[in-house]
Symmetry: D2
Amino acid sequence: MTRTLNVAMIGGGFMGKAHAMAYAAMPMFFWPAPAIPVRKVVVDVTEALADEGRRRYGFEESSADWRAVVKRPDIDVVDIVTPNDSHAAIAIAAAEAGKHIICEKPLARGGDEAKTMLDAVKKAGIIHMVAFNYRRTPAVALARQYIEEGRIGKILNFRGTYLQDWSADPDSPLSWRFQKKIAGSGSIGDIGTHVVDLARYLVGEIAEVSALVRTYNKTRPVQSGNLDRLGAAERNTGAQRAEVDVDDEVVTLLKFADGAIGSLEATRNAYGRNNFITFEIHGTKGSIAFNYERRDELQVMFADDPADARGFRTVYSGPAHPYGSGLWPIPALGIGYSETKIVECFDFFSAIASGKQPSPNFEDGYKTERVADALIESGESGHWVKVRP
Amino acid sequence: MTRTLNVAMIGGGFMGKAHAMAYAAMPMFFWPAPAIPVRKVVVDVTEALADEGRRRYGFEESSADWRAVVKRPDIDVVDIVTPNDSHAAIAIAAAEAGKHIICEKPLARGGDEAKTMLDAVKKAGIIHMVAFNYRRTPAVALARQYIEEGRIGKILNFRGTYLQDWSADPDSPLSWRFQKKIAGSGSIGDIGTHVVDLARYLVGEIAEVSALVRTYNKTRPVQSGNLDRLGAAERNTGAQRAEVDVDDEVVTLLKFADGAIGSLEATRNAYGRNNFITFEIHGTKGSIAFNYERRDELQVMFADDPADARGFRTVYSGPAHPYGSGLWPIPALGIGYSETKIVECFDFFSAIASGKQPSPNFEDGYKTERVADALIESGESGHWVKVRP
Amino acid sequence: MTRTLNVAMIGGGFMGKAHAMAYAAMPMFFWPAPAIPVRKVVVDVTEALADEGRRRYGFEESSADWRAVVKRPDIDVVDIVTPNDSHAAIAIAAAEAGKHIICEKPLARGGDEAKTMLDAVKKAGIIHMVAFNYRRTPAVALARQYIEEGRIGKILNFRGTYLQDWSADPDSPLSWRFQKKIAGSGSIGDIGTHVVDLARYLVGEIAEVSALVRTYNKTRPVQSGNLDRLGAAERNTGAQRAEVDVDDEVVTLLKFADGAIGSLEATRNAYGRNNFITFEIHGTKGSIAFNYERRDELQVMFADDPADARGFRTVYSGPAHPYGSGLWPIPALGIGYSETKIVECFDFFSAIASGKQPSPNFEDGYKTERVADALIESGESGHWVKVRP
Amino acid sequence: MTRTLNVAMIGGGFMGKAHAMAYAAMPMFFWPAPAIPVRKVVVDVTEALADEGRRRYGFEESSADWRAVVKRPDIDVVDIVTPNDSHAAIAIAAAEAGKHIICEKPLARGGDEAKTMLDAVKKAGIIHMVAFNYRRTPAVALARQYIEEGRIGKILNFRGTYLQDWSADPDSPLSWRFQKKIAGSGSIGDIGTHVVDLARYLVGEIAEVSALVRTYNKTRPVQSGNLDRLGAAERNTGAQRAEVDVDDEVVTLLKFADGAIGSLEATRNAYGRNNFITFEIHGTKGSIAFNYERRDELQVMFADDPADARGFRTVYSGPAHPYGSGLWPIPALGIGYSETKIVECFDFFSAIASGKQPSPNFEDGYKTERVADALIESGESGHWVKVRP
């Protein structure tokens, strides 16, 4: 019989929705499942919110006391989907209680904080994962497969972007994502780390960066309530305004440890781009290009194709590709955000079942935070900055 | 308190997976939910398969006797996800038992059979729906909204396609989808009806057709087991072969009742096309284009844009568009097949909660079957054929 | 020494510009040139216009008397770039005078008229060509090459479109292109014949058609002057209006002589489409897709690619492809309308130099007119119509 | 009467072809022409080559002595289409002789050399232009127009690329483009300067750069003959090899003088990219994106579009846009490399006719060389480098 594992999910918001859906759906897709998640307890900041989360997300119980919940003997897994400022405290407590942990990205508000979390999970010997879901997109996993098989040769360079436009409007509210004490950083931590994760997944360790960092909208209207107003259309032109102390954009050069070079751009101020996560990789035997906005597709070019039929192939991910057997029976039936989260859930529970750390785990999350630290430092100093090992 | 409704799902396969996921996920996305589906009983052809379905899809009970299940007093909703040849018997029995019904497409193996189902549900006074999920794609619903608001003017023509390639290989197995007695027809019923549904949703009733119908692969290897080998890569070149008695392709002209014209092409033999459901609509004030393979996007062109900035806009569906508030907080986070089924589930349970028939209901499903009948007849006769009213 | 050939160009307009440019440029691109065109005489409807044409297009002489010019002993080639109603008279006179002829498309105002032209050139034994330039696009010629080499197998079907929007506005002027006595037909002859030419070039003879033909704008403002107001932005809402007696749109099914099927759509009323000449061809071993609006590219899919790397390749035409050695040194430097006309000119003069008829010649132009006749007849009768042999 | 101007073209190769075509075609397209170029003398390295150029490109005379030709009193314009190492000598001699000059890009082998040329043309008071033709693409000029009209607001950032793959093969020949003494630099001068020119045209002066510069293929087979083997498919694996002393790739951050930031990547080693000149510009009111491989199109997004219809518009350049009235009567008929050169020729002769310096002139070419210098210096030093004023 497949093992069941009790999950305590700390936090709600749209990310709670995504995780709860994945707990329900994962065994339906990947069957026999490595383990079956049980939605045991959901925790939110008030009893009322938690109870609503329970009914909405199909959990058995609710609570407003995460400290109590993460210690419960019947909990196997702690899922952290709160704003960034509580990741460390929850993760460390959960680790000390011996729970497996999946934590939303970015892991922490910087490398130092991430280090405390990494130390805790290493000491506890539990399974840990950071929810950089975009590398779970089947087309991205296919890119990795091509690279590992040497089909595009040695990688020369990488170009990655994550462009959104939901914060371009200077009158959109000052949510927690614009406050350094909660978020740690702005576009760097919120979305730039996704590209760093992709770069590390596909190319390898980043050794050094030279970055430009900018804050375009210096103030924003103070937001009432603590909701995550990501993408909220509502503008509040009359409200009191307060300072934004995080970045709106980062553009950086990259030196990889193995000699490849590259660049990365992340901004939430790019009108017309929605969730424009792209990468292009040139190798000595071919190239790969990807755009998450058209995430069913991977573009791949093999240099040894016949001279009269060379060009990027548009490969739609499907059963012949990574994760394909668990998803849909033909390509282009449709990979959405849901599917990326279902795959992530599968990899996490597979790791628990096998006892082998998944990737990206807290070690990866920590390294990514060190890259974020370096981006901030380089943006301030105007010099190349080595990523701390 | 939100009402709960007990669902009996008849059938498994990948479509059962999709529906089960939607039952679990719908209230998470559309909250407060119109009603909360309870996965009560899953039915399959053997007890063993049904029990596996129960565990996999998270149902409370399983059964191999659909006739008994659809009569159970504790069942509110019957969900039919079986091959086409059992739709009518199950739907009629469920209607007679007073259950609300959602039935996978195509509704039946032709208009006559569909009529018996329509009569039954009308007599029973229950809520009924046909699972043409593609019109639930938010970008498609946005196209409908633009049209209803008159933003592209009077529609002149419609061009629709549904191209796949999973049956192009002559050695792919003779699944039930190639057998007339089970499927009713080939590409016409399996995928052509989806485009007919889109055409009816976006333009209106189809009055007349002139069609070409072709079967390219006249025989296929007999398949062992009754699995739905949709998209199965496994070829069986040595197996005994049997005759294919359904169509591989239909291409047709369309006359709509309101004067618009158009064309439609459906085939599962188009190498390189995966789930290429497209439409292009030209109106007197603008145009719309859609490709499900890039389903987050709708292309729309407004003729009254300034002369120096006219062109198709690539609109990524999101919170500002139909269903957007229930799905993801920003555009392009990702609409997949899952999301289309979650929306479908929402619309179905909304209909039950409100007591108003959803669309497409069995009346729509019946009319679509009459168009399918006309396509087959025109393909045989070589004449324009009026769709029976 | 390369032979020089004296050209008399009858007509101006934008097409005269395109041809004159090609005469000057062809030897620069295809060197050594098969023959060097000399821009000897340009003819227009008045002496003044003709003289302006001479200076503008770099001809040595001008004339308002085409009948005299086509008989001149020093003229080797007659180039007909006039409206459709004068093609036959000029071509027949030129043929009788023993001149080689290149004639703009469509060849005539229907098959009967085309037949008189075909008879004349056959009798005269001269080289003749119809200027269906789009098949000269290198990517289209590459499609033909793939097909001839059997790389996509036996062709199953063809889907072609030619969509423009310059006549969608009901207040755009009643140019000669909307007058049957001059143009012969509307979208059918003006742009539909281009797609017929492509279908014949890539697939083979069209045997039978079932068509829908529509005129959306029944009247248009009378135009002062006889200019070709193609694409003219100027609207004349106050002007007297007169009847349009040609079609705005044709949509048709196709049966090819060799068993393939297909469809074709041509309209100048498709808002947002500019010069949207597309085709998609499915074969038993692969598929091809093309869109002239992105004409440097050909999409090709080979079914025997490895299972994990199948998909349409975006091949940019260049030196490795047809005509590539004469054009630009790398792909995507840029194929424009100019380049298609330079290639056309090269093929025409190569034919003269070799004494072998080029393609499409008047035989092809005649057959295309017979397809146009069939489209009109089918649109009127509502039946399948066989193309006259 | 329109003035005629006698042109001496120094050099052949594919660029000579492009220029010769433009001289012939420009008045045909832009009529009445600002002046009519006369192809007077073509110069090449030997009498035989020059005579072949005369016949091929339609010049009246040929010569192997550029020093004599540029002094001829009957010459009005000197056109420099030679490799980079002779630009300065020819331009300075031509300036001293009082000729107007158009010089291929890059202007020189660095800023110091460019300065001598700039000084010479300033002293001579003649009209001078550098042939950065890509800004002549109508869609690029439209981007500039949108920006000048404030339609995308204040520019925040610019991202530009120029990716090709013709030098990716390590066995492609060591043409002059890989030799520092002739070319000055590699991808930086050859293609990077095009992007610098676009950035300066669209955004403004570049103040500072931080660059990564790489040479991937350290040696190449020595080439026999002095042909420009750009894009040559022929590999010579057995030949003697010599060192490459120029860069294969540059990736850089940019700080613009007005506060905008950006990045630029140029490489001839990007498999699958052919002439992938792209830019994306984000402003406070909208965004613009362009890809030369699909050069008829400009993507533009206006932030003030209605919430339910926001997205990039695909605008096909045509008569409503810059240069449109001189080119083709409808959009998407086709802009190729030829058309960009015809427009360039028009702007140059317009400048001569009006007596006003065109853009980019030698001042622009000089500034672009100073950016190139800074890129090389930054690549070597690993620091931000200020562009010399």
